[in-house]
């Protein structure tokens, strides 16, 4: 019994169904991947660029996708790598320190037209930006996407134990930030 994702991959590998399968796949994962990327890069324009690059990579690589890994894990892996590449490029261009990056992201969040400093959801967004990049990824994947550690370890190439420890540290730091802010 093939899963829906496996069926999609098979259809994509058939020339006649390639476009239709790709459109279904994009529609299925676009929002999840968009928000995963947006939590990392903060601004919509940047998230849009990274999301497009992610799906272009999917188009080029899906032909050679092997069924031994889950499609959504593979998609998250591409989106994560694209986000990190984007952030690396930006860091190289601006050559700013980690503290300044956190402040920069914080300012971008505050610049949103709907920003409300008293709303817990916004405080949470500000708190997440204080975390180191990798810890932020772990927290986002677990808290928002509710990804099991085993799957996350495939996305981030890190052991499940290390990811669990990282998530706990991140959650405590965020809680402390929210309480003190």
């Amino acid at each position: 019994m093939l899963s829906k994702d496996q069926e999609l991959v098979l259809q994509f590998k058939t020339a006649a169904n390639k476009d239709a399968a790709y459109t279904i796949l994009v529609k299925k994962y676009q929002e999840k991947l968009y928000w995963h990327i947006r939590r990392m890069v903060v601004e919509h324009e940047d998230a849009n660029d990274v999301l497009q690059n992610t799906f272009i990579k999917v188009w080029k690589g899906l032909e050679n996708f092997r069924d031994d890994s889950q499609l959504y894990t593979w998609l998250y892996r591409i989106a994560t790598n694209e986000s990190l590449s984007f952030l690396d490029q930006r860091k190289r261009k601006s050559a700013i320190q980690f503290d300044e990056i956190a402040r920069d992201f914080g300012n971008k969040i505050k610049a949103d037209s709907h920003f409300d400093a008293n709303q817990l959801e916004w405080k949470l967004q500000l708190a997440i930006q204080q975390l180191p990049e990798k810890q932020r990824l772990v927290f986002n994947l677990r808290y928002f996407d509710e990804m099991p550690y085993e799957e996350m370890s495939k996305v981030l190439d890190t052991s499940a134990g290390a990811l669990k420890a990282s998530y706990h540290h991140a959650a405590k730091k965020i809680e402390e930030f929210i309480i003190n802010s």
């Binding site: 790709y22 799906f55 188009w59 817990l120 808290y143 809680e175």
Partner: protein
């Protein structure tokens, strides 16, 4: 679903505050962004992987009709004999440093110079006083050739060098009491003279 419940209960234990916050993102997306995203993405993806020929066909179809093989010529058998020149390692140029044998050679040279100089110096000294030559000189005949003035000068010079007569310490002679002298027997006098004579002979002998 079961997994999500487990994640949320774990979060409740870890941080009840975070568990209580809504997971809805407060940021917004432009209106209708996701509605047309998939269709736009399909066009983008197709264009990203468009073949070189198809791309050129749409831009300048004439170029697709020209053969792409190179028209320039190559030396005969160039690729057959082609070898990647091995990168020659840069020769390590050692800084000149004083070798041990050079130190020893320098020491030997200095020692040689000193020994040779000493040898030459000694040879010159031995030649400066020729004993054989002086032993053959007829001293009385030579003295006859010396004038009185020269002799006088010599004596004056030696007297000056050896000091005056007053500098010599006169031998102390005990005053002999006439009375005592008469009391000395002839045997004692003979014995005294004999002792004096023996001591002078001994002095001459030594």
């Amino acid at each position: 679903m079961e997994e999500n419940k487990h994640i949320n209960s774990a979060l409740n234990e870890l941080s009840p505050l975070l568990e209580g916050i809504s997971k809805t993102m407060p940021q917004t997306v432009p209106l209708g962004y996701f509605d047309s995203f998939a269709d736009k993405m399909l066009i983008l993806a197709k264009n990203s992987s468009i073949s070189v020929e198809a791309e050129l066909d749409s831009i300048a179809p004439l170029l697709n009709t020209i053969a792409k093989r190179p028209v320039q010529s190559l030396p005969e058998g160039y690729f057959k004999d082609f070898q990647i020149a091995q990168k020659q390692e840069t020769a390590i140029v050692r800084m000149p440093r004083l070798r041990k044998w050079m130190s020893y050679a320098a020491a030997a040279m200095i020692a040689g110079i000193l020994i040779t100089a000493g040898f030459i110096f000694n040879n010159n000294n031995s030649k400066s006083f020729d004993y054989a030559y002086y032993s053959k000189i007829d001293v009385p005949a030579a003295l006859n050739q010396v004038t009185d003035d020269e002799l006088q000068n010599y004596l004056n010079t030696t007297a000056l060098l050896s000091g005056t007569e007053q500098l010599t310490i006169p031998e102390e002679v005990e005053n002999i009491d006439q009375g005592n002298f008469q009391q000395i027997s002839d045997d004692e006098l003979n014995e005294y003279l004999k002792e004096i004579g023996d001591s002078k002979i001994n002095q001459k002998g030594s």
